[in-house]
């Protein structure tokens, strides 16, 4: 049984048909990437999984349980966390308060909370130096670290990452992808949405190519990297 499975999902924004029958499976322990151009429906897919959008057709399963009608705050409880597009840090909460919000469902008095916090600070030492700073005053890279750290504080089984490399300097992009690999190595399954297809395919096990709201290709990351269409359309190789 797949950990996360989308079956023929249709999602709308009002009258706009954004996802036209998307089917994806993510197995436990994998890094799966979803690549595609602007407006292909990548973020919509993640927002549908997280419960921010409710699909009009199709089903979403997590560990065999159907979750497409479950509200967003309940889905976090089940073990799906999202670091959303644009980071969406709470700008007027401090770094520590942002992380506490990630741990909203857990007691901040417990040892487990302190262990979680320590894990995040070990992954992102920069955040440790900035605990008292307001989230809105962080740099883009630091905000991305905080967004991922905050998602980890919810103790997810699956981490949904929406464009973690967006707007970051190349050296930071490298770093973020390294950390995603580390997080995955620690046992968290990752579903990664990226426009930076080359980087995404270099750390992923498998990948899906999304175009105008539908999956047009799915394969192992290796095979996708070598696929001619993918190379032309998304990797900028001729």
């Amino acid at each position: 049984m797949a950990l996360l499975e989308l079956k023929n999902v249709h999602t709308y924004y009002g009258k706009i048909h954004a996802l036209k029958g998307v089917s994806i499976t993510v197995e436990k322990g994998e890094i799966v990437t979803l690549i595609g151009s602007n407006g292909a429906g990548k973020s919509t897919t993640l927002r549908t999984i997280s419960g921010l959008l409710t699909p009009r057709g199709g089903e979403v399963y997590f560990s065999g349980q159907r979750i497409d009608k479950v509200p967003a705050h309940e889905i976090v409880k089940l073990g799906i966390a999202q670091a959303p597009e644009g980071r969406r840090i709470f700008p007027r909460l401090t770094v520590l308060e942002n992380l506490e919000m990630g741990a909203y469902l857990h007691s901040t008095r417990s040892q487990a909370y302190h262990d979680d916090l320590e894990r995040v600070f070990t992954l992102f030492p920069r955040l440790r130096e900035r605990t008292a700073q307001k989230g809105g005053t962080l740099s883009g890279g630091e905000q991305q670290m905080l967004a991922i750290g905050r998602a980890l504080m919810t103790r997810p089984q699956v981490l949904l990452l929406d464009e973690p490399s967006m707007g970051l300097a190349p050296v930071l992009v490298e770093q973020i992808f390294e950390i995603v690999k580390t997080i995955n190595g620690q046992g968290t399954t990752v579903l990664l949405v990226e426009q930076n297809a080359l980087q995404a395919l270099s750390i992923a096990n498998r990948g899906y190519v999304l175009q105008s709201g539908a999956i047009v290709l799915e394969d192992s990351a290796q095979a996708l990297r070598e696929n001619e269409t993918v190379q032309k359309a998304y990797l900028g190789l001729e």
Binding site: P71, F90, A151
Partner: protein, 390 residues
């Protein structure tokens, strides 16, 4: 070195120390006190300057101005805390939903009417006379808070939540509708019960006015008195404001409220039930409004179903003046507006030699100054750091 860093982290990530809690709670209260003292001093200074300008033509004017000054400051405090406690309801709901709950003045009114009903019941059952004053105050405030809080939550559930996704004007119109419905519903209920349209707010005897001190100005000493009801109003409001600051700034729930206000979808990704948080802000705002209504009725002695309109409008103004969405700002805005009004109401006729009766022009003056402040500081006195959502 590594151990040092670790120790640092554990202190910053560990439980908040007691002093830290004090700072987060009393920081805003300190800011409030600063604005209270500041506006009282500034306005007193203006009064003295105006008096000195006219002292040539009217030698007694400075004495007359100073004679009423302490009373004006007390009046300003009472008005200020009244606006502040209503303004909080507007600002909290705006902070979370970016929506002006125009029915909030009626939530305030209901608190007053419910308080009057309790007082009528106590008076007619003969319990009122022997009742300790403090117990009575706590009782009417508690009942006002419970009823108004529950009413605010109900209104949100019935009239606003179904319109959450609608264009912004739609819930606004719904709010105005709720406001009219509540006014006339209360009128219907009051005129068909012993309360009557103008319901008396009976109170036990709170004793004689408190003589604070005497001022020696000219012929005879002038006593400065503090009416017990004004004292009750001020003390109760200050306690509520401190409690609210604690809730919002130092508790997990308060953080969830702030997170929801800053970014609702992301808050739900943290596992925060945002509908519950929205209901909670209506509950808190409604309870504060209800308490203010009960205190207002107690202070004035009578309530009617339309009494919420003007204070509601002024409290909304106070919320905008302080920076809408900003909780400390609402308190500060309320206090500043209260002082402005009290000073204009008391001094306008004195300084214009009776040409304008102050009470009638207080609103004009207060709102004119408000417009000026907003022209030069459109985000309000404290302003909410509204980083635009991307």
């Amino acid at each position: 070195m590594a151990a040092e860093v670790k120790a640092q982290a554990s202190s910053s990530s560990g439980q908040r120390s007691f002093t830290e809690v004090l700072r987060t709670v009393f920081g805003p209260v300190g800011q409030l006190i600063l604005f209270i003292v500041g506006s009282a001093l500034a306005l007193s200074l203006v009064v003295v300057l105006l008096a000195l300008l006219q002292i040539g033509a009217r030698p007694d004017i400075l004495t007359r101005a100073l004679t009423i000054l302490p009373q004006v400051i007390i009046d300003g405090l009472v008005r200020g805390f009244l606006f502040a406690s209503i303004a909080l309801g507007y600002t909290m709901v705006y902070g979370v939903l970016e929506f002006i709950n125009f029915a909030h003045g009626e939530i305030f009114m209901v608190g007053g009417v419910v308080g009057a009903a309790v007082s009528l019941f106590l008076a007619s059952s003969g319990l009122l006379a022997g009742m300790p004053g403090l117990l009575f105050v706590i009782l009417v405030i508690a009942v006002g808070m419970v009823v108004s809080g529950a009413l605010a939550v109900t209104v949100e559930r019935v009239a606003y939540r179904p319109l959450r996704g609608a264009p912004r004007l739609v819930p606004l119109i719904s709010a105005i509708g709720v406001s009219l419905v509540l006014q006339d519903l209360m009128r219907l209920m009051m005129t068909n019960t012993p309360l009557g349209f103008n319901a008396r707010f009976n109170t036990p005897d709170f004793g004689p006015p408190i003589r604070l001190f005497e001022m020696n100005l000219g012929a005879r000493p002038v006593p400065v008195i503090l009416p017990p009801k004004a004292l009750i109003f001020i003390v109760a409001s200050v306690l509520m404001l401190i409690a609210l600051n604690y809730l919002v700034n130092a508790t997990r729930l308060g953080k969830a409220i702030r997170a929801t206000a800053q970014d609702m979808p992301t808050a739900s990704l943290m596992g925060i039930n945002v509908n519950q948080i929205v209901a909670l802000t209506f509950l808190i705002g409604g309870a504060l409004g209800g308490a203010a209504g009960a205190l207002f009725g107690l202070n004035v002695g009578t309530v009617n179903p339309y009494m919420g309109f003007i204070p509601g409008l002024k409290a909304f103004t106070a919320a905008v003046l302080g920076g809408i969405g900003n909780i400390t700002g609402a308190m500060v805005g309320g206090v500043v507006l209260g002082f402005l009004e009290a000073f204009v109401a008391s001094y306008l006729s004195l300084f214009t030699n009776g040409a304008f009766s102050g009470a009638a022009y207080a609103d004009i003056a207060a709102f004119s100054i408000l417009i000026l402040i907003l022209i030069f500081r459109p985000s309000g006195l404290l302003g909410e750091a509204t980083t635009q959502k991307v």
